[in-house]
Amino acid sequence: MLEKTKNIARQILEEKKASAVFGLMRNEWNIIQPHLFEDPAGLANLVLEPKWLLAKLAMRILRSSPENYKLAVICRGCDERALIELIKRNQIEKENLLTIGIACSQEQAAICLCDRPYPEKLDAGEKVSGVDPFQDERVRKFLIGNDKERMKRWADMLKRCIKCYGCRNSCPICICEPCKLEDDVWVQRGVVPAETITFHLIRAFHLSDTCVACGACQEACPVNIPLLYLQLGMRKTLREKYGYEAGLDPETKSPVLSSAFEKPDTDREFPDWINSLREEDES
């Protein structure tokens, strides 16, 4: 897979289809980090592991580059989905982006609880089957029980928050400016933990139809809050009730947007987890 990826990247650079290839580099000291490959010879140091989300970094590079700068990004399934969402939200010009899609291993899919561990445009590696996160014990723990029990479980987790903003900073889709989390109408400044409802739930619902389940938020969280699990239920509902999944293609619009123009379907049932984050009664 690595050799094939290098070949594709080399071809892109040699044929000048892109100004640079964005991926991971391992140097002589065995240090791995994101890197812009501009010279085909440098690709000898290209590596594909560990999983290191590049979509947001790629977006920032493209946004601070000259108009016709073209970037090729080596991306996993989640990275590809994030890049597509960024195209949909006019953050990236579709014409300026090339992707080199690589498949994740079964092991990686299990770690990420990923139900789609491959990009739609797969260039290197073999597709492995996804994992159903709702079969995972760790996820189920947050979904079972009545709403009070679920709320308690989440409250216990979210009160760890140290307000590093790492979930927002690392999320490839969290791009609003100004950010609601910085608006003290919603979130009180200068105190930890950040408020559950106004900080964490604003963030979660802001991403309800754009989250690509990459897990960047959870991986960046210093205090091990399982932030990805907050999104999984909403993703599931969009898929099952609306047939929609974020990041699959640049053309399909989110039902959250389309329902503003179309007559809502009033017969839909709400899934039972939907009030699991309701605040506990004062009593």
Binding site: S19, A20, W29, N30, I31, I32, Q33, P34, H35, L36, E38, P50, W52, L57, R60, I61, S64, K159, R160, I162, K163, C164, Y165, G166, N169, S170, E182, R189, G190, V192, P193, E219, A220, C221, P222, V223, N224
Partner: protein
């Protein structure tokens, strides 16, 4: 030009997290977490994420500054360095070398600290060199060296996740060492019991299984009560004590003074909870103790740390992978600054200046005679300004905010005949200087930092310093040479090699071994892989020593005139004297103004509403700040963060010193609080 991503180390706390700085056209524009870093593994706190923000601040110093009356005038380096050398030499010639004082810096690299202490010791034949470790973990060094033989954290940060019980006392790790707090949660998620001891309610205590809200300054009664109960119940580790300890009889005898009942009364908590936590701590296989400024910043700081060591050794909770004693170091390189001998009594590697064999070793290596008389500490150097100390060289320290009893400190800073301050901003301290050297921040130089788990890590230069500012390394070499020393080092790596040749514990450290994950000392030779945890089969001093921890209550307790307890500390969005964080737009947006926490009942009595101004007064001075009304502080207690120059908490603090380590009692003093009239 395409952006570059460069790995380096965070400049804030002692955790030593991995950063990736994004550089565009020679400017640091963003900070990202390093997924591969052995400590932070892809996470950062709010300060780490903002680490690039102050670098390009317009307040950065770009040229050497010479005082002209009340103003400063820019001068070139080729005037500044000879002038500094001349003034220091003149002072030393007139008053003797002991009239010179040097404050080195826990913000600077190991190599810079090494050169700084070498410069002071060689050029002036004095050991008057110290740094702000005096204000944070001086008691740790004294007590842990006495009891275990090494003053450093015994284990590694990642070892915490495997502990079955974590006893956190006097540490608000969630705000001050957030990435370490993550390791505590990992342990909790695996079922470990987290016990927190703190007079305040903090993010740590709220997430602990048990919170002991003791009265301020009653740590020794608590720890002694726990030990008494552990021995009475036969829960102490007799095999460990027999094989590896000395002094048990004396300790046991002493502990009869502290039955649980008396301990509970002193602490203001019930007896049962003391018995309960003592049993949990003692019974599990591996328990770790984390402590920080809540333990050390007391006039009984050394005894506090001794009590912690006693408890850990009593239960045999030292020398295994997931047990141990974790003093959390505050500054990015405070461990390193101590290691490098920026202390008045030791050379690099904690080698005593008064040991003649050691003195000979350094005299031979450095090629000159050296003083064997221990020097003065931070508070003494400042306190004796204009008296015994006539000239001072302060590198990247800010005593005008960091030291206790600010009014007194400010008077002292004015009293030097000649004061050189080297910093990246014109700090509150630099404003008193005769000569200011503009230096480099973490992102503008290479070198090494040593984090709280003894890990030497490589700092990489990402951008050039602004204007004519220079790397501290270069400034030290220029000044050293101007003072007639041979400081012809080509780069920091060469300095590290010299350090390795003189301090056995760092003998195996060299820059090319540090590239990937750094190395934890002791690392005596080039083949040695570094040491993850200390005291495995034997203590550094041979046998562990139980030392009796005598209890002394805080030197100043609330009375009729000053009825409140005042405590100072840090909060999550700012760092120390705020020089960097208050110039970071994102951090400053989070917390823009000074505040003090006050309990709702007290606020009601004083008729103060949230956000209104209050005046806090102690015997040293007073400040006006915003009231933050919260139950996080008990009734009768006030908490003030010390980051704010406009309301300096250290105007209020008590300079009473711990007799052995000379740390001031920042954590407790008596204060009065009034509502400040809004029109005044």
């Amino acid at each position: 030009m395409n952006p570059e991503f460069i790995k380096t180390i965070c400049p804030y706390c002692g955790t030593g997290c991995g950063l990736i700085i994004k550089v565009e056209d020679g400017v640091a524009v963003a900070t990202y977490p390093d997924r591969e870093h052995p400590v932070s593994r892809g996470s950062l706190c709010i300060k780490g994420w903002s680490a690039h923000e102050f670098i390009n601040h317009p307040d950065r110093l770009t040229d050497p500054l010479l005082r002209k009356g009340d103003t400063f005038q820019k001068i070139p380096w080729d005037e500044a360095i000879p002038m500094a050398a001349l003034k220091l030499r003149e002072t030393a010639a007139k008053y003797g070398g002991d009239a010179i004082g040097g404050l080195s810096s826990a913000k600077c690299t190991n190599e810079e600290n090494y050169l700084f202490q070498k410069l002071i010791r060689m050029a002036f034949k004095t050991n008057n060199v110290d740094h702000c470790a005096r204000l944070c973990h001086a008691p740790t060094t004294v007590a842990m060296v006495q009891a275990l033989g090494s003053g450093a954290m015994t284990n590694s940060i990642s070892d915490l996740a495997g502990a079955e019980c974590i006893f956190v006392i006097g540490s608000n790790a969630a705000e001050s060492h957030p990435i370490i707090m993550g390791e505590i949660y990992k342990a909790a998620d695996k079922g470990a019991t987290i016990i927190a001891v703190d007079p305040r309610e903090t993010a740590v205590t709220r997430n602990a299984k048990i919170h002991l809200r003791i009265n301020p300054g009653t740590d020794i009664p608590l720890l002694c009560g726990m030990m008494r109960h552990i021995i009475d119940e036969g829960l102490h580790n007799e095999n460990f004590i027999r094989a590896r300890m000395e002094g048990f009889e004396d300790l046991n005898e002493f502990l009869h003074l502290w039955p649980v009942k008396r301990a509970a009364e002193e602490c203001g908590i019930n007896e049962e909870i003391i018995r309960n936590v003592a049993e949990i701590y003692a019974k599990v296989k591996e328990s770790a103790i984390i402590y920080c400024m809540g333990i050390t910043q007391h006039a009984c700081g050394t005894a506090n740390v001794l009590a912690i060591c006693d408890l850990a050794m009593l239960c045999g909770h030292v020398g295994t992978e997931h047990s141990g004693i974790y003093p959390l170091r505050g500054q990015n390189n405070v461990q390193g600054a101590c290691d490098m001998g920026a202390l008045p009594n030791v050379y690099p590697g904690y080698q005593s200046v008064s040991d003649s064999e050691i003195q000979n070793k350094f005299q031979n290596a450095w090629g000159d005679t050296l003083s064997n008389k221990p020097g003065l500490t931070v508070t003494e150097i400042i306190g004796l300004a204009g008296k015994d100390i006539r000239a001072a060289y302060i590198m990247a320290e800010n005593p005008a905010l960091s030291d206790p009893d600010t009014n007194h400190v400010l008077e002292s800073l004015k009293a030097f005949d000649f004061l050189i301050v080297q910093d990246i901003f014109l700090t509150e301290t630099a404003k008193f200087a005769h000569l200011v050297f503009p230096s480099s921040c973490f992102a503008e130089k290479s070198g090494t930092f040593t984090n709280t788990e003894r890990r030497f890590q490589l700092l990489r230069k990402t951008v050039a310093p602004p204007g004519n500012a220079k790397e501290d390394f270069e400034i030290l070499c220029l000044l050293g040479n101007a003072l007639g020393l041979d400081f012809s080092y080509k780069n920091p790596s060469e300095v590290m090699d010299e350090i390795a040749s003189l301090a056995p514990a760092y003998g195996g450290i060299s820059f090319d071994r540090l590239e990937r994950e750094g190395l934890q000392w002791p690392c005596p030779d080039l083949e040695h892989p570094g040491t993850r945890y200390l005291h495995k089969d034997r203590f550094t001093r041979g046998k562990g020593l139980f030392v009796v921890p005598e209890h002394t209550p805080p030197k100043e307790l609330p009375d009729e005139d000053y009825p409140y307890y005042l405590s100072t500390g840090r909060m999550f969005a700012h760092y120390h004297t705020g020089t960097m964080t208050r110039r970071s737009s994102f951090l400053n947006r989070e917390v823009e103004e000074a505040y003090a926490e006050i309990n709702p009942e007290d606020a009601a009595l004083l008729d103060v509403k949230d956000g209104e101004k209050i005046k806090i007064t102690t015997r040293r001075g007073s400040i006006i700040t915003n009231a933050r009304i919260t139950k996080r502080v008990s009734k009768g207690c006030i908490f003030a963060p010390f980051h704010f120059a406009e309301a300096r908490a250290n105007m209020l603090t008590n300079p009473a010193l711990d007799p052995r380590s000379k740390i001031p009692e920042f954590k407790v003093c008596a204060a009065d609080v009034r509502k400040e009239s809004q029109d005044g």
